[in-house]
């Protein structure tokens, strides 16, 4: 399953709930305002790093760039992807769940 998160974890609990209920080997994509969760050194970084031990976590590059967040400063090991890869990810996973 591919989990889509589009809200900042500093504003909503979508990422929290998703990480509570995502099964091992599931994938998570941070996009729109959720990309702020990717910043290294943030209050969310540790939680994200822990999640990455059992989940594949991706972040949408165009949304990072739009918000002026440089790729060099995101949590190590996060994969930055574009829309083409976003589409490919939805194909690779049988189900997509949006945490609205």
């Amino acid at each position: 399953m591919l989990h889509l998160i589009n809200k900042s974890p500093f504003e909503r609990n979508a990422l929290d709930s998703c990480l509570r209920l995502a099964q091992d080997s599931h994938a998570v994509l941070l996009f729109e305002d959720a990309v702020v969760a990717a910043m290294d050194g943030s209050a969310q970084a540790e939680c994200l790093q822990e999640a990455m031990n059992r989940l594949s976590v991706y972040v949408l590059g165009p949304d990072l760039e739009a918000r002026g967040l440089p790729k060099e400063r995101i949590v190590e090991g996060l994969e930055v992807i574009d829309y083409d890869r976003f589409v490919a990810l939805t194909c690779e996973h049988d189900t997509t769940q949006s945490w609205l």
Binding site: L4, N6, F31, E32, D33, P62, Y83, D84, F86, V87, A88, T90, C91, T95, T96, S98, L100
Partner: protein, 130 residues
């Protein structure tokens, strides 16, 4: 791969419609089929032809209309959500005694069954919202 796309929020207020559009374009470019784009809740506001955004901004409604024309997309506005928010096609306007209709080219109004059908018939359902 056959995609169903759901847009839950109106244009400009949320990024949902923009993200859905970028996703749809990328999916089409990769050779995938889009079975239907279903606009639900405030998302029905993406289907009014009366929007007049500033010239230096993107025209979200026209962009969907053009994508629909170029790729024969099925853009569906949820009828109950549309009626609540004053989005009417010619038939709905007449039936409800209203003096105007406002649906943009490429969009049509239909029921929630179209959402379920999109979920059942598509290989993937991807939802964009708030």
């Amino acid at each position: 791969m056959k995609f169903g796309i759901v847009v839950n929020e109106g244009p400009y207020q949320h990024q949902a419609s923009d993200s859905a559009y970028q996703f749809a374009r990328a999916a089409l470019a990769a050779g995938h089929e889009i079975f239907r784009v279903f606009f639900y809740h405030d998302g029905v506001n993406n289907g009014t032809r009366l929007t007049v955004p500033p010239q230096d901004d993107r025209n979200i409604v026209e962009r969907w209309s053009e994508l629909a024309t170029e790729n024969e997309l099925d853009l569906v506005l949820c009828v109950a959500a549309a009626q609540r928010r004053g989005l009417l096609d010619e038939g709905e306007a007449q039936r409800n005694g209203k003096d105007a209709d406002n649906i943009a080219p490429g969009f049509r109004i239909s029921g929630l069954g179209q959402l379920i059908e999109a979920a059942v018939q598509s290989d993937r359902l991807v939802t964009f919202g708030d």
